[in-house]
């Protein structure tokens, strides 16, 4: 009976600290980092923007990629992009390195370097003619502040007003061969 107040106090403080931790950005950050988030998307591109930047009528943006967020605020984004136009389908590999910051349930992405590698002739031609403009187009799509929602342990939704919802899923790691598994 004499220990009851102490037990109650410790329990109450523990619960209070747990609530604070669960509601904090730190907890969400821990859930997002060191996991590879994969996605596929196929979207319309505003034709006027593409026509202005790239001198051609692009209408679709097909992408398959992965996003890796590190605890030190660095990010790596890698994807294969196929642009749909009336004449050809330029294909590129896109690599972005940059920073991410989480605050009050919103995440901001900032690019520090973007590199493209063409994977077909149309892509090579597009890069030769409009690499700088393509970079602007990619930055405009990527450098945003989005609301973060983890709908379950493995699905991440990023949303912003007026823009398309972006769903990503934790990539299931393929089992790698190790000496132990080989021997067994």
């Amino acid at each position: 009976m004499r220990l009851l107040p102490w037990i109650l106090t410790i329990f109450a403080l523990g619960c209070a600290l747990l609530v604070l931790w669960l509601s904090s950005d730190g907890h969400l950050q821990q859930q997002l980092t060191h996991r590879t988030w994969a996605f596929e998307r196929e979207q319309e591109v505003a034709e006027e923007t593409a026509a202005l930047l790239l001198d051609r009528k692009l209408n679709r943006w097909q992408e398959q990629g992965e996003l890796l967020l590190l605890a030190n605020g660095q990010l790596q984004f890698e994807s294969r992009v196929v642009l749909g136009s009336l004449t050809d389908k330029p294909a590129l590999r896109l690599l972005i390195q940059g920073q991410w910051l989480l605050s009050e349930g919103f995440v901001s992405f900032t690019t520090s370097s973007i590199s493209f590698l063409p994977t077909n002739t149309a892509g090579k031609q597009l890069l030769a003619e409009h690499e700088s403009m393509l970079e602007h187009l990619v930055k405009n799509r990527f450098n945003r502040i989005r609301k973060v929602m983890l709908t379950n342990e493995h699905t991440l939704l990023l949303s912003e007003d007026g823009e398309a919802l972006w769903g990503l899923q934790e990539r299931a790691e393929a089992q790698r061969l190790t000496l132990a598994t080989t021997l067994w």
């Binding site: 996605f39 998307r41 196929e42 319309e44 919802l165 769903g167 299931a172």
Partner: protein, 133 residues
């Protein structure tokens, strides 16, 4: 008649002393009890906080088709739209969906197809959504 071992003078003095004595300390003002009450209230408030945190978690409700409205999923009861989306998904060779999210955007409708292994993002025009109705 009740016999008392005290004489009248002693009895009067005792009654007088009792009358002028400060009141006994009540249970509520005891520090230990105040401590118990305060920590119980804190524990209760923390448990309420935990429950509120749990309720605020954006878990997707069971229906397959959901509309994303202001950062929260809302179930849509449109069986014909679900069937149409599933047929479209079959044509695209998509794996079975656990959830399909729709959200209006500037360029039409965002369609997020969440399967067990992968998530696919598409954009549908208003005409495509209307054609499904």
């Amino acid at each position: 008649m009740l016999l008392s071992p005290l004489n009248e003078e002693e009895l009067a003095s005792l009654l007088q002393k009792q009358a002028f004595e400060p009141e006994e300390v009540t249970d509520w003002s005891r520090p230990r009890l105040r401590w118990i009450v305060a920590s119980s209230l804190l524990a209760l408030a923390s448990l309420c906080g935990l429950y509120r945190w749990y309720l605020l978690q954006p878990q997707l409700p069971p229906p397959l088709l959901l509309e994303w409205q202001q950062g929260a999923p809302v179930a849509i009861d449109r069986p014909e739209l679900v069937t149409c989306l599933q047929q479209w998904g079959n044509r695209q060779s998509l794996p079975a969906a656990e959830h399909i999210l729709l959200e209006p955007s500037d360029l039409g409708w965002s369609v997020v197809w969440i399967s067990a292994q992968r998530t696919y993002n598409y954009q549908w025009s208003d005409a495509q959504v209307q054609a499904c109705h």
